[in-house]
Structure formats: structure tokens, C-alpha cells
Amino acid sequence: MDTQLSKTQRSLGNGLLGAVLLFGIGGIVIYALEGEEVYQPDELYVEECGACHLAYAPGLLPVGSWQGIMQGLEEHFEDNAETDNETASYISNYLEENALRPGQPSKWSMLLRNIPTEAPLRITELPGFIQAHESEYELLEGIDLGVGFFSPCQDCHRQADQALFDKELISPGYGPTFQ
């Protein structure tokens, strides 16, 4: 009887162990597969564009916007951001390849909503961006925010440089500073 019971216990134990291992290994496999999607910005892009501001993830703007930006680097939002042709064409390619595209799965596809044919150059002017920040606009109603108030994403989205804009990651206590 005792041996019978221990046999059942053993097989039960083995079964449980198997399930736990399967679950664990399955998790590792899924993690590894998903790992490919981890955002890794191009080094030259971060060095060139990130010298003056957050190196915005290419997937935050459609191709047309990036093209417009790259064609006007000498007058880049009232700053001079010109660079040599080789660097400019490398960065253009990178931005266009990874841009926000209709019909392509993206966690930011809401930024494509109601987008005009000629997309704006600023992320903050995309109708989808304004919609996503509706409650912030409401909170700040009546205050003169000035141009570029919403531009430093990292003021609230502390992991913006890793292209993480999830609501859950907004750290309480941080936020844009009023002048």
C-alpha cells in the first residue's frame, strides 16, 4: 500500500515537475522570440540627432514626415542641423525603413489616425498624438504652452529613449516644467 502510494506520488511529482519545466522553457522561448522586437536605435542616428534632442524612434512618424525633415536640416525647427551628405543619406534610409506605415503592425498605429495627406513634420501635430494626449491638453487648458511644449517626451515618458511610451511606465512626480 505504501509503495503504491509513493508510486502515485512520484508520478504526480514527475508530472508537476514536467509541467513546471515546460512552462518555464516555454517562457524562455517566447521571450527569446520576442527579444527580436526590442527597440535598438541606430548608433549613428542617436549620435547625430540625439546630440540636441531625444532621438525620436523612427516609428513615431510616417515616411513623408521624415523625408520633409531630412530635406530641411539647415532650417530644422529654427536650428541648424545640417550634416554631410553621406551621414544624411544613411540616416534618411534608416528613418524611412523604420517609419510608421499603414498596414504594418505597430503599437503606435493610433498615430496614423486622421493623418492628412501631407503629414506634419512634428510628432506633436499628428491628430493621433493630440488624441492620445487629450487628458493632458484638458489639464493644461488656458495655459500658454508655446511651441515644443510636448516635444521632450522623456519629461513624462522616462523610457522614451527606449521607445517605451506605455501609460504604466509614466513615473508619478515627473512632468514638463512650466516657465
Binding site: C52, H53, D79, N80, A81, T83
Partner: protein, 136 residues
Amino acid sequence: MICRLSCNLLLTITALTLQFLVITPAYPTEISDALLQEYLSAAARPFTIAAGLETWTAVQPNGRSCTTCHGESLFTAGSHERTGKLIEPMAPSVNSERLTSRRKINKWFLRNCKWTFGRECTVQEKGDILFWLSQQ
């Protein structure tokens, strides 16, 4: 008599050496030396520390100067006028990455001169600034 002469000579040499070590510490790099040589061949007069400082701090009609973004001190960080992004100190004595890349020096001279002065800097201006920076 002989001793006095040689002693004086020794003292003078020591004083001169000390003065060189204490008063004019320099942090040029191979790159800054090479660039200064190139600039010099096209400049009207030799580069000076005073002229570098003057060019760096001169406020332009548009209200801008190099210090607008780089700050009042070369030894502490500045910040981008529009975006607030931190700009590491310019002095090579506290930031050993400065003046080590020809590409970066050329890039920032071009961009920042156009933004600050509304035109490209002359070889004289670039040389004065670079020479002055290399002494900081």
C-alpha cells in the same frame, strides 16, 4: 661672481619652466594641433587666447553667443537653448573627448557658427577659438 651669474641663470630657467607649467597648462590633441596648422596657413595673424575668448563670448545682433548653449564656464555642462539637452563641458582638461574628432569639430563649427553668427566662421575665428579651447 661666476656663481651669481650661473645661479641667476638657473633661477631664471627654473622660473620660466615653472611659469610654463603653472600658468599655461595646455590640452591640445593631435587633431587640434593638425587643424590649427591648417588654419594658420590661411589666417591673417597668429591665433591668440584673448581673441578666442572674445569670439566665444561676443554677443551677436541676434542676441546669441557661444555661451548661450555652452554656458558661462567651459568646465561645467551647458544646455541646448531650445531643447534643454545637456551639453558636456567644452574644456579638454575636464572632458577628454573634446578636440579628438576632426569630423565633430568640423560639423559643430559649421552648424553652430551658422546658428550663432548667421554665417560660417572665418578661419581666423575658428583658429582663435580652437587655440583658446585647447588651453582650457
